[in-house]
């Protein structure tokens, strides 16, 4: 089998399919998916709500909320808040992923990663 990345640093031979089948690895991937899939679906839906509402219902969105600051502007601003909150949630959750990754890596390389 040709090496897919011939220019990489020499690695200890690892049995990739065996690692992939390990419960520790499967749990890691499952934990990631449990966060990634709902998070991605959520942000895509939340984001496209903006062009849909602004594009198809401009008269609703231009209703003033605080002085002349209208719903359209506040909803656009909320996208920034949404992105930052989701980012913070991911960073928190990723600490758990890091610990699991660390365990798998150190077990297979015999050194702390």
């Amino acid at each position: 089998m040709p090496d897919p990345m011939p220019d990489r640093r020499p690695q200890p031979a690892l049995d990739w399919p065996a690692i992939e089948a390990e419960p520790a690895f499967r749990d890691l991937v499952a934990a990631k998916r449990r966060f990634m899939i709902p998070a991605t679906v959520f942000f895509v839906v939340y984001y496209f709500a903006l062009p849909i509402l602004v594009g198809y219902f401009p008269r609703v969105m231009e209703r003033d909320v605080i002085g002349k600051i209208n719903l359209a502007y506040l909803f656009a601003l909320s996208q920034f808040v949404m992105a930052w909150v989701l980012m913070a949630m991911y960073v928190r959750r990723a600490r758990d992923f890091d610990a699991r990754e660390h365990e798998i890596v150190s077990r297979h390389t015999g050194r702390p990663s």
Binding site: D3, P4, A72, F80, A83
Partner: protein, 544 residues
């Protein structure tokens, strides 16, 4: 003596000192392409922001908001939300499995020459198209702000400087130019925003009350001419806080959604952004880079409303442009600089001009390094030389020659395209990235059944669909008045109604990739290679 000129020279001097320092630390391929993976997550966050926030975002968005109000802000939102795609789906697995280029990840599981070549071509198309847009922008902005420097001279100066950074200082110099530019851009934008808000007693409600007094008009069908719509219909009047001044009519909402698709998926397929994640030591640092980049980019894009609405209220749409033969020729790019002049006089105008100049330089340097590594590492080393061991010095030399060639080509193209309306080029770059690169990246990382044929089919279809649809769209086709300063490439009525093709071309790219895989057989060892990629991407085992 022109203050702007002094500030330009100051910036150039600082960056050249950095380049000299970086050149002594740039010998190996890992140093040239990836700054020896020595950049910290925090530094890389600033560099990603500096690489990303182009002249289009600084001058372009401010201008769009100053001319069309609320609708211009739609770009700002999409450009930040895009980073969730990068953060959640792309940055960490990319760092774990690749080495120098986007194609490293795409070719991991598949037949090397075919996938490498297609991925490298896509990288070169996206980067070159984006680069020409930046350079033409540089030409017009620099020559407007410093009249002593002409259009072509400005492009040559920008081109030569970017080549000096890249050829001598590699990724390390490029990174620091981007960090400094991001700091300047953030500083300038914060200062401008504070000055704008100070004019309204730091009251957002007062500010928006003033914005709501600025109005614009459009026609539901056709274009406004001399205050009337075709067929005698009455124009629709909107104030600047209300949506619709840019995106309206039959295709308005769909255009807005198509733009959204291009923005939030395209970013994760921009090679010059992706290669930044190879400059940090590991995937945790890559995550940290995205986090810092999102904080900076988000803060910046929120402030674009103060710049844009500030220019609309304090300068006035009717005053944004250049005087030519006693008449004002509108120029959106001048909204931010003219706002600065209004608020802080000539010194502040010069400061903003210097920021714009730094902005363009940092972005084109990032584009040059991404395209030279695609050429040297992907095409020359992996395809032509078939990955045979090559001494480091030789590969770095090829990358430097490639950078020089790409730089020279972009200078020539930018000068020859000066009279074209090049706004479509940035849209094209995002559309190709979203339609060709993103399906390939996501499917190779997350879909076991994906194969070489699917990858090649997806990338070719995504690339062709974006290019063809853009050519048929109002971005390229249109009938201009003989007096227009910049003209559409094709003087005819557009065939495809949307400015941005992403809403059609992204699904086409995915569809071709999926069908191409399902209709053909996977290679015998495909399963095992996916296992390797999957383990590496998720754990960082074996990452360089």
């Amino acid at each position: 003596m022109n203050t702007a000129l002094v500030m330009f020279i100051g910036f150039i001097a600082v960056t050249l000192v950095i380049t000299y320092w970086a050149s002594r630390r740039t010998k190996t391929t890992a140093e040239f392409y990836s700054a020896g993976r020595s950049i910290t997550g925090f530094q890389n966050g600033w560099a990603v922001a500096g690489d990303y926030m182009s002249a289009a975002s600084f001058l372009g968005i401010a201008g769009l908001i100053a001319f069309y109000g609320y609708d211009g802000f739609m770009y700002s939102v999409g450009w930040l939300v895009a980073y969730l795609t990068v953060l959640l789906l792309v940055a960490e697995p990319l760092r774990n499995t690749g080495r120098y280029t986007m194609a490293d990840v795409l070719a991991f599981r598949f037949r090397q020459p075919a996938v490498r070549t297609v991925a490298a071509i896509s990288t070169l198309v996206v980067s070159l198209v984006y680069m020409i847009a930046q350079m033409v922008g540089a030409g017009s902005i620099v020559s407007l702000l410093i009249p002593q420097i002409g259009f072509s001279t400005a492009i040559v100066i920008v081109g030569v400087l970017m080549l000096v950074y890249v050829i001598f200082g590699g990724m390390l110099a490029t990174t620091w130019v981007q960090i400094i530019k991001a700091a300047l851009l953030m500083g300038g934008t914060i200062l401008l925003s504070i000055l704008v808000l100070a004019k309204f007693g730091f009251s957002l409600t007062e500010f928006f009350a003033a914005v709501a007094k600025v109005t614009g008009k459009y026609c539901e069908v056709g274009t406004l001419k001399d205050g009337a719509c075709p067929g005698g219909a009455a124009p629709v009047a909107r104030d600047f806080t209300q949506p619709g001044l840019y995106y309206h009519g039959k295709w308005g909402a769909l255009s807005l959604m198509s733009l959204g698709v291009a923005l939030i998926f395209g970013t994760a397929g921009l090679p010059h952004i992706l290669v930044r994640f190879y400059t940090v030591p590991d995937s945790k640092a890559a995550r940290k880079s995205v986090v810092w980049a999102m904080i900076l980019i988000g803060a910046f894009y929120i402030m674009t409303t103060f710049l844009g609405f500030g220019a609309a209220t304090l300068v006035g749409k009717g005053n944004i442009g250049v005087m030519k033969d006693g008449a004002l020729v509108p120029n959106q790019n001048l909204a931010a600089p003219l706002l600065a002049e209004k608020l802080g006089g000539e010194v502040f105008l010069s400061f903003v001009a210097a920021i714009a100049f730094a902005t363009i330089l940092a972005v084109v340097a990032g584009l040059t390094i991404a395209s030279s590594s695609a050429f040297a590492h992907d095409i020359w080393f992996n395809v032509v030389k078939r990955g045979r061991a090559v001494v480091d010095r030789e590969q770095v030399l090829v990358a430097r020659i490639a950078a020089a060639g790409i730089g020279a080509l972009s200078i020539v193209l930018a000068i020859s395209l000066r009279t074209l309306n090049v706004a479509f080029l940035v849209g094209l770059a995002f559309a190709v990235a979203a339609s060709a690169n993103v399906p390939a990246i996501l499917l190779t990382l997350y879909w076991r059944r994906f194969n070489t044929n699917g990858m090649v089919a997806g990338m070719v279809v995504g690339l062709l669909a974006s290019v063809i649809l853009i050519i048929l769209s109002p971005a390229v086709m249109g009938i201009d008045a003989p007096t227009a300063a910049t003209k559409h490439l094709i003087q005819a009525a557009p065939i495809f109604p949307l400015d941005n093709p992403a809403i059609v071309s992204v699904p086409l790219g995915f569809l071709a990739a999926i069908l191409g895989s399902l209709l053909t057989r996977a290679r015998a060892d495909g399963e095992q290679l996916y296992s390797e990629l999957n383990v590496r991407a998720n754990t960082g085992l074996g990452a360089v």
